[in-house]
């Protein structure tokens, strides 16, 4: 039984993929009679099957050694691309988490998307994500990870672009695709460059190789930087963080997935690559810096947002930044724990906020207020989510951050200070959202706002249960510190910072004496945070402008210089006063001329090594 479960573990992504394929049948151009709903039910069922399979495999694997399965894929010209699958308690745990949150998101979507017509497309894309993410954790090879990440980039584009007739959605989808693709392509460069160095892409073999590898430090630094660029895009780190914010234009069930586990795909690749990255100290410090800037910047920007979803999305960037710091300081276990606690808590936060948005039909925080009397369940789940995310004992986030801080306590105290700051700001940001939505007095948009129906409440409640019980689960897996190793000072510091953040926000946003919306004494600074450090503008004036300019120049060059038909020839005939000769035969002469010039260019270029050699011999 146990072995069968493990041997067939590759079925888990297949369930989801099959669901995605079956959903195609309910595209409006194929089946119309039943409406598109069956596609949603089928996919939920597939997720449930996948979840059961992975839970059974996870429990069966407890106390067993890790196993590897090999599936042949492509073997060509001394390049062997066999699919390695790692079945260990870590990958199975990740699989359970992915499938669980997917199931939440899909059940939530059945409620949230009730009035939508694009079910088949939406659910097939959700299922594609599910398949991709579960495949990612199973595959133990950098090459296949890269493949999956690219496919997920495409899926992000399509899923964000679900409501494609709104202009903001279209630009959001575009930016999400292109930003992630930039990261992916750097990753591809890293993948290409790593093979000649290491001779393998299997993470396991890479780790073995890294132990004894002697590589030129410059090369290793370049390769390392290329390798972390992909995860930077996925984890929405500065300066590739813009897409996550814009992707919030997509539907909320997709945001549940995206904010909790899709961003974590990048972190997963980093966990696996950690031994390779450690070969270059520069790469590690780059990770710390990127993560540090994102963590502080992300929390500050989150506090300045007036859109609920965006406020949460910047926190996602910030927490992934903490994961980056953890990997940069080689605390992989803490990074993994942080990813787990963040995923669960963030899914809960997005679900509770999503349920509120669904029938208050606004995302503007300033229009909310006084919902706790009407929406206590959503309010409670937000509170639990917030407490589970920041370091608030005894919930999960506390243990993850404690583990990280404990590891840095003596070695890098300045990072401890940074983490405590980030934790305070994150607590402040979450409490701010809570106070603005659930606290205060009710406003026109919130005056009539009952609790929503079960498909949205059920997953939120289940996720709340899991968030509350996460410490228990961690204890069962013996991931919590014992009393002897418990760092009491760090624990106190972290708890204190969370309480400080929560209470400061409570004081400011619940007190009627402080003018709302809160204005900082420096409006320029507030705008800087509110407009995301002006990153969109920065991109527009630099990269977008540059590519546009070069492409226009190329096109002009092509039209008027390379192609002989353009004005140039017309001008020549006008100047020579023989416009009558502007005929087919005249044009053909010009073509011949262009061809000759082209030939000459190629000829010189091709013979260049020899020509230069000749000139040297003569001289």
């Amino acid at each position: 039984m146990f072995q069968t479960l493990v041997d067939t573990i590759w079925l888990v992504p297949c369930y989801a993929f099959l669901g995605a394929l079956i959903s195609f049948l309910w595209f409006p151009s194929i089946i119309r009679k039943t409406g598109p709903r069956p596609s949603g039910y089928i996919n939920t069922l597939m997720s449930l099957t996948a979840l059961l399979h992975s839970v059974l495999a996870f429990s069966a694997l407890q106390g067993q050694p890790a196993q590897r399965l090999l599936i042949p894929w492509l073997k060509v010209a001394n390049l062997d691309l066999t699919i390695p699958i790692e079945v260990s308690s870590l990958t199975m745990g990740a699989l359970v988490l992915i499938m669980g949150i997917n199931l939440f998101a899909q059940v939530f979507a059945i409620g949230y998307m009730e009035m939508d017509w694009g079910w088949a497309r939406f659910f097939s894309l959700l299922a594609l994500f599910e398949a991709g993410m579960s495949a990612l954790v199973l595959l133990d090879s950098l090459f296949f990870s890269y493949m999956v990440l690219e496919i997920l980039t495409l899926a992000t584009y399509l899923l964000t672009g679900l409501w494609f007739n709104q202009p903001l959605v279209v630009t959001g989808a575009r930016d999400a695709f292109l930003t992630k693709r930039v990261g992916d392509l750097f990753l591809l460069m890293g993948v290409l460059a790593l093979l000649p160095l290491a001779g393998t892409w299997d993470y396991q073999e890479l780790a073995t190789w890294a132990k004894t590898a002697q590589v030129d430090p410059t090369v290793m630094t370049l390769v390392g930087l290329a390798l972390i660029a992909g995860p930077m895009g996925k984890c929405a780190q500065f300066p590739l963080h813009l897409w996550l914010d814009e992707a919030m234009e997509g539907p909320i069930p997709a945001s549940i997935l995206r904010n909790s586990i899709v961003v974590a795909t990048g972190a997963w690749v980093l966990f696996k690559l950690e031994p390779v990255l450690a070969l270059s100290p520069f790469t590690l410090s780059a990770l710390i810096w990127i993560g540090g800037v994102t963590a502080v910047g992300g929390t500050l920007i989150a506090i300045a947002q007036i859109d609920i979803k965006r406020s949460l999305s910047y926190l996602v960037s910030a927490y992934m930044g903490i994961v980056f710091i953890a990997i940069g300081t080689q605390q992989t276990a803490a990074a993994q724990m942080m990813t787990l606690t963040h995923a669960l808590a963030m899914a809960l936060l997005v679900m509770s906020v999503g349920a509120v948005i669904w029938n208050c039909i606004t995302q503007d925080l300033r229009q909310y207020g006084g919902l706790f009397a009407r929406r206590p369940i959503s309010g409670l789940s937000f509170m639990v989510g917030a407490a589970g995310l920041v370091a608030f004992p005894p919930l999960g986030g506390f243990w993850a951050l404690l583990k990280l801080v404990d590891g840095l306590w003596t070695t890098q105290p300045w990072l401890v200070g940074l983490l405590v700051l980030v934790n305070t700001l994150a607590g402040f940001s979450l409490a701010r959202v809570f106070c603005m939505v659930w606290g205060g007095s009710s406003k026109p948009m919130t005056a009539r706002s009952p609790e929503v129906f079960w498909p949205m409440i059920l997953p939120a409640m289940t996720a709340m249960g899991f968030t509350l019980h996460l410490p228990h689960i961690l204890a069962t897996l013996s991931l919590l510190p014992t009393w002897e190793t418990f760092n009491q000072e760090a624990a106190l510091l972290l708890t204190g910072s969370s309480v400080l953040g929560f209470s400061a926000a409570g004081l400011i946003y619940l007190s009627p004496t402080i003018q709302k919306p809160v204005k900082l004494p420096l409006p320029g600074l507030q705008d800087l945070f509110a407009y995301d450090f002006y990153t969109p503008k920065l991109y527009k004036t630099s990269i977008v402008f540059g590519v546009d300019l070069i492409s226009q120049l190329t096109s002009w060059f092509d039209k008027y210089l390379i192609d002989g038909t353009g004005n140039l020839f017309g001008l020549a005939t006008i100047f020579s006063g023989q416009s009558l000769k502007y005929s087919t035969s005249g044009q053909s002469q010009f073509y011949v001329l262009t061809i000759l010039v082209g030939i000459a260019t190629i000829g010189v270029l091709l013979c260049w090594p020899v020509l230069s050699h000749l000139s040297l011999a003569v001289g």
Binding site: F27, P28, S29, W73, L74, V76, A77, N78, L79, G118, Y146, E150, I151, T153, L154, Y157, L158, G161, F164, N165, Q166, P167, V169, A173, R174, L178, R181, V182, L185, L188, L192, L195, P196, V215, T218, V219, L222, V547, I550, S551, Q552, T554, S555, D558, I562, D563, T565, V592, I595, V597, T601, I602, G603, L605, L606, C607, P609, V610, S612, H613
Partner: protein, 511 residues
């Protein structure tokens, strides 16, 4: 067996063209469909008999023809030509099937007849094992293509057809000059490939001859400074003709590059390879950048073709066996993806009546847009941008991995090129498929199931070969290894980024 692949379409062209009694367009189409299906079945039979482990020619046929000229009727097939022949015959079937909708009903008999002439020409050139025989077939498709563009093309078809004719004729002329000089200088008894060896020629002679051929084939591919016939020809040609032009004909250029330039000049190849790698990089970036600025979606795809053929050039220049397999795979996958893109754009043009980016909008709309067509367009665009799981990715990847050890910097720049590909396809898709459909103008005719079949078949293939790439690359593995083994390996073993990336460092440094 191989002769059938040439004789059948020739006979078909004659039969359809000169059928004595009156032949309706519909029955001509049926006949053409039957014939092209037969050709595809024949190709399948050849596939089943193909020996994967043999590097050399298989199923050879030899018939002395004109002894004094050195012209022999010599045919053969290997792992280089087999996938391209399959691609050609497959695309001919697609073209004949779609001909009914894409081509105006004027003179269908002539259209099918010319299509089969083209098919015979391309197949013949791919099978020929004699330089003159190759050239005969190479020139044979020129006139039919000229007519195909001229008769069924768009508004500016005359200029485009003339441009195509002149460029291709120059290409043929240069190749002819190269072949003649090559045979005479090397003192070979005939024009058979096997009889010719450049080993005895001096490096300078070899370089001059090689340059003639490179430029000749470079026009056909096309390489960047010689490409100006391409956008016009692709854009003005009717959809089926554009599919044949970009999907099948352009491959003759890269085929010639491998077979004649690399195959006949193994000693000189390493000298020109760095230059070619730079040209390939320029082509990739130039094609992508020019595509970004286009406003006509067909022209955009035409420029994308320049970039994608340059990946093939990069792979050939690198001459490692992995890159070579990738290059051959890229020829096939580019053919499939380009055919799919052109087909879908053809459907959009027919139904919506425009190809302008500024006028198209919201075609993904499930009720009043063209949902299936635009979904497939998304997929085709992504395949072209090299998203894994689709056929474009794996061949590009093999080219990159194979070329990286020889030319790290050009390879990395070509990777940047795939990023730019994503940029223009996102522009295309965002404007065409996404957005809001204008309710006032959106009364488009429905796309029928029969019109969708070619696109669906192509998509299925793009998908299948993307997930099971073994079926794409297994045919050419042995041949690629043999071709590459003939070239003296001057490229250093896997090198690192900070080292110089020219395989001939001594020459480079002295210059």
């Amino acid at each position: 067996m191989l002769s059938l692949l040439i004789v059948l379409p020739l006979l078909g062209a004659i039969a359809i063209g000169f059928w004595p009694s009156k032949l309706s367009g519909e029955s001509a189409r049926l006949g053409a469909l039957g014939l092209s299906t037969a050709l595809l079945v024949l190709t399948a039979v050849i596939f089943s008999q193909f020996d994967l482990s043999a590097a050399g020619l298989q199923m050879s046929e030899y018939l002395p023809w004109i002894k004094t000229l050195g012209l022999n009727y010599a045919l053969g097939i290997d792992g280089l030509s087999l996938p391209l022949i399959a691609l050609t015959n497959f695309l001919v079937l697609i073209v004949v099937y779609s001909g009914d909708d894409g081509v105006p009903t004027t003179s269908p008999r002539l259209f099918y007849s010319l299509t089969f002439l083209v098919s015979a020409g391309i197949t013949g050139a791919l099978l020929a094992q004699n330089l003159l025989l190759f050239l005969i077939f190479y020139e044979l498709e020129l006139i039919p293509f000229y007519l195909l563009i001229l008769i069924w093309g768009g508004k500016n078809r005359e200029g485009a057809a003339m441009k195509f004719l002149i460029y291709t004729a120059v290409s043929g002329f240069l190749i002819l000059a190269g072949f003649l000089a090559l045979t005479w200088l090397s003192g070979a008894p005939s024009f058979d490939y096997a009889a010719i060896s450049t080993a005895g020629l001096s490096t300078r002679t070899q370089l001059i001859l090689l340059t003639l051929l490179l430029v000749g084939f470079g026009i056909k591919i096309p390489l960047v400074p010689l490409h100006s016939w391409l956008p016009d020809a692709y854009v003005e040609a009717a959809t089926p003709v554009a599919i044949l032009l970009g999907g099948a004909l352009a491959k003759l250029g890269t085929y010639g590059l491998v077979r004649f330039c690399l195959g006949l000049f193994p000693q000189t190849w390493p000298i020109v390879a760095p230059g070619l790698a730079i040209l390939a990089t320029v082509g990739v970036l130039y094609g992508a950048m020019a595509a970004i600025a286009q406003k006509d979606i067909k022209r955009m795809v035409a420029y994308s073709s320049i970039g994608h053929m340059s990946y093939v050039l990069l792979g050939i220049a690198a001459h490692t066996s992995l890159a070579m397999v990738g290059a051959i795979g890229q020829m096939v996958s580019h053919g499939l993806i380009l055919a799919l893109l052109f087909y879908l754009i053809g459907v959009i043009e027919v139904k919506v009546g425009t190809r302008e980016l500024d006028e198209l909008n919201g075609l993904l709309n499930p009720l009043r847009g063209l949902p299936t067509t635009s979904s497939l367009l998304v997929l085709a665009g992504m395949a072209s941008a090299g998203i894994p799981g689709l056929v474009g990715f794996i061949s590009e990847f093999l080219v990159f991995q194979g070329s990286y050890s020889a030319f790290p910097l050009p390879t990395l720049l070509c990777v940047v090129g795939t990023g730019l590909t994503a940029v223009y396809f996102v522009i295309l898709l965002n404007r065409t498929c996404f957005g809001r459909l204008d309710n006032k103008t959106a009364y488009y005719p429905k796309v029928t199931r029969t019109e969708q079949i070619p696109a669906l078949v192509l998509t299925a293939l793009v998908f299948f070969l993307g997930i099971q790439p073994t079926w794409l690359v297994r045919w050419s593995e042995t041949t690629s290894a043999a071709i590459v083994a003939a070239v003296p390996q001057t490229a250093p073993p896997p090198i690192a980024l900070n080292q110089t990336f020219m395989p001939a460092p001594s020459l480079k440094l002295q210059g």
